[in-house]
């Protein structure tokens, strides 16, 4: 496979996608960037963290790959080299591996964090009495999968309670204690960035204390890729899963699974097929898991291009994290609450609602926000308070947070009038 030709094709996609970007790279963040997304005009997306939003040029790349698949399906699926799935996957894998500072041999594609976590947890055959440890803040999918694996032996599911906010040492102490109390633990799973509330956990240190006890570690980095600086090998975990469709801007159905070399023999895909190709059995197994549409994986390349085109990772992260902080502060102030809860560098902010909002602290309220005002944020109870989790993206501005404030108060005034009242009293 000629790398020059592959590069040429990628450059062609970039040119097609950005006809007006021939000279200038400078682009204002905020609402001007909405033109590069296909979001409905009537939808103010403050929930990028849940479902992402795929830039138009990335969707174009997705469609282009889907079309290539139709030209000569046999060549696409069964061969390697130019104009083949394997060839194209190799190229994208190298780029993505570089982005996370990993060796491409240790990276495979999966269709989402759910797929990656399931592949790891359901592959490993633990001895009969081994426990799996996780935090109360684990994403529900991780918990459900652990529960499923442990079946009738739920004593092997060890949930460790942490409160948030917490210091790193508090979290580490809780986990250390749990490991001491559960010496049969052989596997632990931690979020890199928790979901609700959204907070960065001290994963490197968590890996260290687990490894001291010979406990393997799976990191659920669903929110990490594209939101925070990521050097996966340095974290030292045994397994790391990261979504592309959230903060990287790649299409739904694109994610990566990184597995430490010496653990690769333990892992197989959710669909055992074994008809792929690769430099190792690990690569072979994941390279082809049936006749599916792998275009989303391939479009991760276009997502990386897009990030470069709009200013690059550093600028993106600077903008979104600053907006999340400012927006969160504004929201808290308007709602008359203390806070917000936010990890430095994160593009998601957790803002408490007035105490009275606990009565309507649920999905129904959030859905009413969507139906009535065309915006949505997760609304959830946490440690006796009701929070909203707001995502800041390159297409958001502070006015979006102002809009959220107004519309939240409106919905609360219908569903939880005391909550709305207390907010306006503060103001």
């Amino acid at each position: 496979m000629s790398s020059l030709r592959v590069f040429g094709r990628r450059a062609a996609f970039v040119m097609l996608a950005f006809p007006s970007f021939t000279a200038s790279i400078e682009e204002a963040f905020g609402h001007p960037l909405l033109q590069h997304f296909a979001l409905d005009m009537n939808y103010t997306n403050l929930n990028h963290g849940s479902y992402g939003a795929t830039p138009i040029p990335v969707v174009k790349a997705l469609r282009k790959w889907q079309e290539v698949m139709e030209h000569n399906p046999d060549r696409w699926f069964r061969f390697d080299g130019e104009k083949t799935l394997i060839g194209a996957l190799d190229h994208v894998r190298s780029r993505v591996a570089e982005y996370i500072q990993a060796d491409a041999r240790d990276v495979v594609f999966v269709d989402g964090a759910s797929g990656g976590v399931n592949a790891v947890l359901r592959s490993i055959k633990l001895p009969p009495h081994a426990s799996i440890l996780y935090l109360n803040t684990a994403y529900q999918m991780v918990k459900n999968t652990i529960f499923y694996i442990n079946g009738q032996q739920q004593e092997r599911s060890v949930e460790v309670n942490i409160s948030l906010p917490s210091t790193a040492s508090q979290i580490l102490a809780a986990v250390r204690q749990a490991l001491d109390q559960n010496p049969s633990t052989l596997l632990a799973s931690f979020s890199h960035i928790t979901s609700i509330p959204a907070v960065i956990l001290p994963v490197k240190e968590l890996v260290q204390i687990c490894h001291e006890k010979n406990v393997m570690v799976l990191i659920d980095g669903a929110h990490a890729l594209g939101q925070i600086a990521l050097n996966i090998p340095e974290i030292g975990a045994d397994f790391y899963v990261a979504n592309g469709h959230k903060w990287l801007f790649s299409p739904k159905g694109s994610a990566i699974l990184w597995v430490a070399r010496h653990r690769q023999h333990l892992i197989h895909p959710n669909v055992i097929n074994d008809e792929g190709r690769g430099s190792s059995f690990f690569q072979l197994q994941f390279s082809y898991t049936g006749t599916k549409d792998y275009s989303a994986f391939l479009a991760m390349s276009a997502a990386l291009d897009f990030r470069e085109q709009i200013g690059g990772d550093a600028q993106i992260k600077e903008y979104v994290s600053r907006l999340a902080l400012e927006g969160g502060k504004y929201l808290a102030q308007t709602l008359g609450t203390e806070g917000p809860m936010i990890s430095r560098g994160l593009a998601m902010v957790n803002v408490p609602l007035p105490q009275a909002a606990l009565k309507c602290c649920d999905m129904n309220t959030a859905k009413r926000l969507l139906v009535k005002h065309g915006t949505f944020v997760p609304i959830y109870p946490w440690q006796g308070q009701c929070f909203v989790r707001v995502s800041a993206q390159v297409y958001n501005e502070i006015s979006d947070f102002m809009y959220l404030a107004r519309t939240l108060l409106d919905v609360l005034s219908n569903d939880c009038p005391e909550a709305a009242d207390s907010a306006s009293v503060q103001n």
């Binding site: 979001l39 939808y43 969707v59 699926f77 994403y139 299409p251 049936g290």
Partner: protein, 438 residues
């Protein structure tokens, strides 16, 4: 924009023009590279442009309102419209049908959901697609099960050729029966044949009442009629099928039918955030995380496309008649035979290559390679070549050929001519003067 309404008007206008099957259909609806003749539809399918455009429309909906699409019944609403139509096509109850990425996902879901005990037995035939023995090997390692493989020999003269080895295998099973699962192809891949699945299911249940019967119908949906009611009565407990093959839905689509009695134990390949012990069968399978569900959604557009072309009878009538004619014609031209009789031939057939059987084994092998390779390199024609190890010990070489609505008689004549021409460049001996480097 109501995509279905738009598609309907497009359908109407094209239907009125009456695009014939064969080359006009190929040029109008498909996106093969120019000059390429795909005789391997059975391999990876092909998605009509109209269906891909419908899928694009769903991607647009998803991107316009991501939260509504995933959290507020967006894609699920589309699935709830498509499911009854799929179920009807399979003569099944809608409540017993869930969506899959493909048959492999469904096979994995069923195989890995069962409560295997050490020494349990899984019965396969030798014609089973690779995913089955490969997943079986994993089950062996994981649970200590045994795989029992019934050797079915081809060419087969009748359904009995398939039934006998399976019956034999069942008879040899010790009682009490530890056969937990039997898996049969509805339409096998290599070689392609319609298997007598209802009779096979009855045979299994007669021998071991508790054994579950799973059918791999990867090639069935859109190629042969599927009557789940009849199959369930015969003892079939689960059925998987691909959408991207003969239904011509996008890659990443398929369906699983499961009898009510086993639905509770079946889990999809991915346990999601919404999957708890009380979650219902369809909910467990319908949501498996934030991912691209547009292929599933576009199965509706694939059904629309088929209706527009005249429905299953018209399509399957055309493809199977063309396959029947082509198989006979090619076997005649080659002086060989098709791998199964017409009654067992769906819309794909296998015909033995015109390579003299008296040639040395390696020369025959090389010739098969020359033909298959030459077909794609020189003629831009895609078939699948495979070999069959006969009972006698001989190895014979075949090509599997799929017919489709984008092919016509002319194409098969050209294929025949190409094979015969390439065959001329094969040599009976390798090495020395006059040898051909292959």
């Amino acid at each position: 924009m109501d995509l279905r309404l738009n598609l309907f008007f497009v359908h109407l206008s094209i239907h009125c023009q009456g695009i014939p099957f064969g080359k006009p259909t190929r040029e109008k609806y498909f996106q093969f590279q120019p000059g390429f003749l795909n005789f391997n539809h059975g391999g990876f399918g092909a998605t009509p442009l109209l269906v891909r455009e419908a899928q694009s429309g769903f991607v647009d909906q998803q991107e316009a309102q991501p939260t509504a699409w995933f959290a507020s019944g967006g894609y699920q609403k589309i699935l709830s419209e498509v499911r009854p139509r799929l179920a009807e096509m399979m003569n099944a109850n809608s409540s017993d049908v869930v969506f899959l990425d493909d048959a492999s996902s469904g096979l994995n879901a069923v195989l890995r959901s069962l409560p295997w005990q050490p020494q349990d037995v899984m019965l396969l035939t030798s014609a089973a697609y690779a995913v089955l023995p490969n997943t079986g090997k994993w089950l062996q390692k994981r649970y200590g099960i045994q795989i029992l493989q019934a050797e079915v020999h081809f060419p087969a003269e009748s359904a009995e050729t398939i039934l006998e080895p399976v019956e034999q295998a069942l008879l040899e099973l010790p009682q009490p029966c530890k056969l937990r699962l039997a898996v049969f192809d509805h339409v096998s891949s290599y070689p392609p044949a319609i298997l007598p699945v209802a009779r096979l299911a009855r045979m299994v249940k007669a021998r071991c009442a508790e054994t579950l019967v799973l059918l791999d119908g990867a090639h069935a949906l859109g190629q042969v009629p599927i009557d789940m009611k009849q199959l369930a009565e015969a003892g079939v407990d689960a059925y998987v099928t691909d959408g991207h093959k003969w239904l011509m839905a996008p890659k990443g689509s398929g369906a699983l039918w499961a009898s009510r009695s086993i639905q509770d134990i079946l889990e999809p390949a991915i346990i999601s955030s919404d999957n708890v012990p009380t979650t219902k069968f369809q909910d467990r399978f319908d949501y498996i995380g934030t991912r691209d569900y547009t292929s599933w959604c576009a199965m509706g557009a694939a059904l629309d496309f088929r209706e527009m072309l005249g429905g299953e009878e018209k399509i399957q009538g055309y493809t199977s008649q063309l396959a029947g004619w082509a198989g006979r014609m090619m076997a005649g031209a080659f002086g060989t035979e098709t791998v199964v009789p017409l009654t067992m031939t769906p819309s794909m057939f296998a015909v033995r290559l015109p390579i003299p059987s008296e040639w040395p084994t390696d020369a025959q092998q090389r010739c098969a390679g020359v033909i298959a390779g030459g077909l794609i390199e020189k003629y831009s024609m895609q078939v699948i070549s495979f070999s069959v190890h006969q009972k006698s010990g001989n190895v014979t070489h075949w090509i599997r050929v799929s017919s489709q609505i984008y092919l016509e008689q002319q194409d098969f004549l050209a294929l025949t001519h190409a094979v015969l021409t390439l065959r001329q460049s094969c040599k009976s001996r390798v090495g020395g003067l006059g040898s051909v480097v292959v």
